[in-house]
């Protein structure tokens, strides 16, 4: 199709502001699917996405509207996936900014809206849910207009639920969003903005063609990674996969690659033809590396092979997921996994538990460290228990954090960032009300409960985004936990030296509460090397009997002992001490900040 008849757009909306419903109406109105075929919220395919109301993987669907080809590119909606969002947006020329008429603009929308503005996307502002009794479309329209610098009259007012005004949205997409402007005659270039794995066809890349065109049976190359393959099929989603002769300049669609490993085709890379390759890849490719690590252990050690199989399967669809076997003396066999961020970790864990029916214990997350040992060796450490003891220097990842917050909350946010070893960079007033704060922070301070804290200190108004900028030397130290003199590897921490004492103290206090009293005194210690920094003793039990046991009590007594016995089976043995799984969980949660 002629590029002048193509429009590529995404929808930016806060959770529950109606993105999926609007997408559904677009599919119906353009007769891409009929109402009867309509599965609620067609675009969110994963069960988990529907339940959590967030979109994890981008997808693209093509619809026809008044002689135009409209490609809706869905975007993931969370901070961990900023890079994926930015790639999805880069594949578009415009975006619908959808805001709930009853809620007004919410913080999460802003980061993506600004991302869209940064990418020079044409913003089409839309007020949704005008049918709600508590809706205030005028006020909401004024708010959006100010945000994007539009005339309030140009803000569309719709109800995605009833379909009211959705046709005007489609018209506005055609009228306001510019057509793609690539060169159809140039050597082919296509941006990979997502991929998924199909067990029969291998990796399917979702692409936006910028220059030239792509056909099936063509030898292709991913320019940054150098991966070569032959396109087995090209096509588009409408909403299911439809093969096409070719994908031309400006079009959005898929390429079936036959590759067996998603990690060989990374989001942001540029596809080109082997026959007449482009000289330069499209800008913006980044090799996304996991920065947050945690140990995943099956609660029941018999499930270890199942966990391994499940991770293998997830990895097929999630190039950012990293894992390697880990053995913990306290928690048994498991995996050390790397994630983009905390939400990514949560999603992986939930998918493992839900889709693969696994019961997991997740250790406190930590970041990647670069360590130079006294022997001059350079190592990357993903696990506190592996931190060498003879350290010359430790570097930790730093991020540049952008926090957008209503001006009344600037104080609390600054306070939080200072507590988290943040360095103030600068501050901008985006509008009279909204302030953008830029800070540099150690990533380690974010993987704890930073996001929860930020939300609670700003009543949910803060929008937060970050980029890893570099590794910097830090005054970091390893804190170990010993129970009855035995080092518990799963509980080792790497912390800033100033916090070592308070963190060690908190761990020891928590363990003293959580570990039941044993038949003997159990010292619990936190230590830096051989120096004990906190110590508590779990006093031995002095009595543990059922005083009365006569003819009528025997059954009850026996059942009591059976329960006690069953409880012991769930204990993890640390030396001679029985530590309930719950104790580990409680302590790990203390650091993870998440339930």
């Amino acid at each position: 199709m002629d590029q002048s008849h193509i429009r590529n757009f995404s929808i930016i909306a806060h959770i529950d502001h109606g993105k999926s419903t609007l997408a559904d109406r677009v599919l119906e109105l353009t007769e891409t699917v009929t109402g009867r075929q309509m599965r609620e919220q067609v675009l969110d395919t994963m069960e988990l996405e529907r339940e959590r109301g967030i979109t994890i993987k981008a997808q693209a669907v093509r619809v026809d509207w008044k002689g135009h080809e409209l490609n809706l590119i869905d975007t993931p909606g969370h901070v961990d996936f900023t890079y994926e969002v930015s790639r999805s947006l880069q594949a578009c020329e415009g975006a619908l900014l959808v805001v709930d008429a009853a809620q007004g603009i919410e913080a999460q929308t802003l980061a993506n809206a600004y991302l869209a503005i940064e990418n020079d996307l044409e913003i089409v502002p839309v007020v949704n849910k005008i049918d709600l009794p508590q809706a205030d479309p005028d006020a909401t329209a004024a708010e959006i207009a100010e945000l994007v610098g539009e005339d309030p009259d140009r803000v569309l007012r719709i109800s995605a639920k009833t379909g009211d005004g959705v046709d005007a949205v489609l018209d506005a997409i055609v009228e306001r969003i510019p057509p793609p402007a690539g060169d159809p005659g140039a050597p082919p270039r296509a941006l990979i903005f997502d991929s998924s794995y199909d067990q029969y066809r291998g990796v399917v890349a979702f692409v936006r063609v910028v220059d030239g065109s792509f056909r099936a049976r063509e030898p292709l190359r991913a320019m940054a990674q150098g991966t070569r393959f032959e396109a087995e099929e090209v096509g588009f989603f409408s909403p299911t996969m439809r093969a096409a002769e070719e994908l031309g300049a400006g079009e959005v669609g898929y390429v079936v690659t036959g590759l067996k490993d998603v990690s060989r085709l990374r989001v942001g890379d540029t596809l080109t033809s082997e026959r007449g390759p482009a000289d330069e890849p499209l800008p913006g490719y980044k090799d996304v590396k996991p920065m947050v690590f945690a140990g995943l252990f099956p609660t029941d050690s018999d499930d270890y092979p199942d966990l391994r199989d499940a991770l293998e399967k997830l990895k097929l669809n999630d190039a950012a997921l990293f894992y390697e076997p880990e053995t913990s003396q306290a928690l048994g066999f498991g995996f050390r996994c790397g994630f983009l961020g905390l939400l990514h970790m949560e999603i992986v864990r939930e998918r493992l538990e839900r889709e693969f029916d696994l019961d997991l214990l997740v250790t406190a997350p930590n970041v990647a460290y670069r360590v130079v040992t006294q022997a001059g060796q350079e190592v990357e450490v993903h696990n506190p228990a592996e931190m060498p003891r003879e350290i010359e220097r430790v570097e930790e990842p730093y991020i540049k954090a952008s926090i957008i917050v209503p001006k009344d909350y600037v104080g609390p946010v600054m306070e939080l960032n200072t507590e988290r070893r943040g360095r103030f960079d600068h501050m901008e007033y985006l509008s009279e009300e909204r302030v953008l704060l830029i800070y540099e922070l150690p990533l380690a301070e974010i993987v704890l409960d930073y996001y929860d804290q930020l939300k609670s200190r700003t009543r949910g108004y803060a929008s937060f985004d970050y980029d890893v900028i570099d590794f910097r030397e830090g005054d970091l130290t390893r804190v170990d936990v010993l129970i009855a003199g035995e080092l518990v590897d799963a509980l080792s921490l790497i912390v800033h030296r100033d916090e070592a004492y308070s963190r060690g103290r908190a761990l020891v206090d928590r363990l003293r509460e959580e570990i039941p009293r044993q038949f003997f005194d159990v010292p619990v210690q936190a230590a830096i090397g051989s120096r004990v920094i906190a110590r508590e003793t779990i006093k031995a039990k002095r009595k543990d009997v059922l005083a009365k046991c006569y003819g009528g009590d025997i059954t009850r007594k026996r059942k009591l002992l059976e329960r006690q016995k069953a409880g012991k089976k769930r204990m993890k043995q640390v030396g001679a001490v029985e530590v309930p799984q719950e104790a580990f969980l409680a302590v790990l949660n203390l650091d993870g900040g998440k339930k």
Binding site: F519, F520, K541, R542, K543, D544, V545, L546, A547, K548, C549, Y550, G551, G552, I554, T555, K557, R558, L560, L561, Q564, K565, K568, A576
Partner: protein, 376 residues
Amino acid sequence: MSSRGVVRHLYVHLPFCASRCGYCDFVTVVGRHGQHRAYVDALLAELDLERGALAPELESVFLGGGTPTFTEPLELERLLRALPPALEVTVEANPETVTAALASLLRECGVNRVSLGAQSFQPRLLEVLDRRAGPDDVRRAVYALRDAKIDNISLDLIYGIPGQSAADLDADLSEALALEPEHLSCYELEAKPGTRFTHAHGVELSRQAEAMESYFERVVARLRAAGYRWYETANFCRPAALADGRDLRSRHNLAYWRGRDYLGLGIGAVSTIEGRRWRTTPRLGAYLAALAGGRTPPRELEELSADVRRSERVLLGLRLDEPLALAGLEGAVDWGAVERLERLGLVSRDGEPMEALALTPHGRFLGGGVTAELLA
């Protein structure tokens, strides 16, 4: 029906009480004088139905409650005279019910052991327990029983009462010892969740929990120092050497701890005979109605598998101060755990290679956890 069974231990439950004590979790019925007669009728009818299980000669009969001595004296007498004779016949009594007349009635009816619910000698603590008797009632009751030539008296004491200091406990033990009982049962107060008692005193109890941790040790140390034998977790008696060679352990209760069969009559009573355990309905109306119609009262039945029986033998046997012979019980024990516990000084093995097992004195204070660990 004649007695040609093998059961040599009989328990009879008399549920009636003058009032209910807050901490009590036994099947009790307050007042209801009008029903005492019907209840004794029902007991005797039930005895008739079950008599076939009993051996020709019984070792022990135990009348528990409730407050057996609160039962109308005529009815109590009728019951006692109708029960089969035994080497040991025990009746539980509340101090305030024991008069000279009652004491001689019991003696005449063949009772040779009385278990007296003293609980405490501090009026303040007795009040917390809702007990009606005062310290003097306990003394009077003991003297009355002695006068009636009852030469085997057991006192029940409760420790860990809300507000009970260590000095209070020591005083209770002194008062009890001054009465020179042949036998003492000392129970830690169990505040069951959801009871009126726990509702009223739970906060106080958890506040005192740490201080009261040592009470069990105090009780044992004090009674042993006074020459008593700590023969079961909660039970003490004068040793034979100090009692003209008499074995003053409760024969009836020893039967439970040694895994013997026993028949229980009355509401809420439990019987265990040849691998079957049943509990008779705790509801008085249903019990009376069934037996008035000549039918077996409703029961809750539990079949005890061979494994369960072996486990119970271990968990009961280890409550005693005599080693538990393990012949036939090897499978019920986790031998790895035994070794661990032996290293911790909680368990001792007697005989080679593994003929008998006992808890050490330290192990007996932790008997619950230790037993849970060493059961297979």
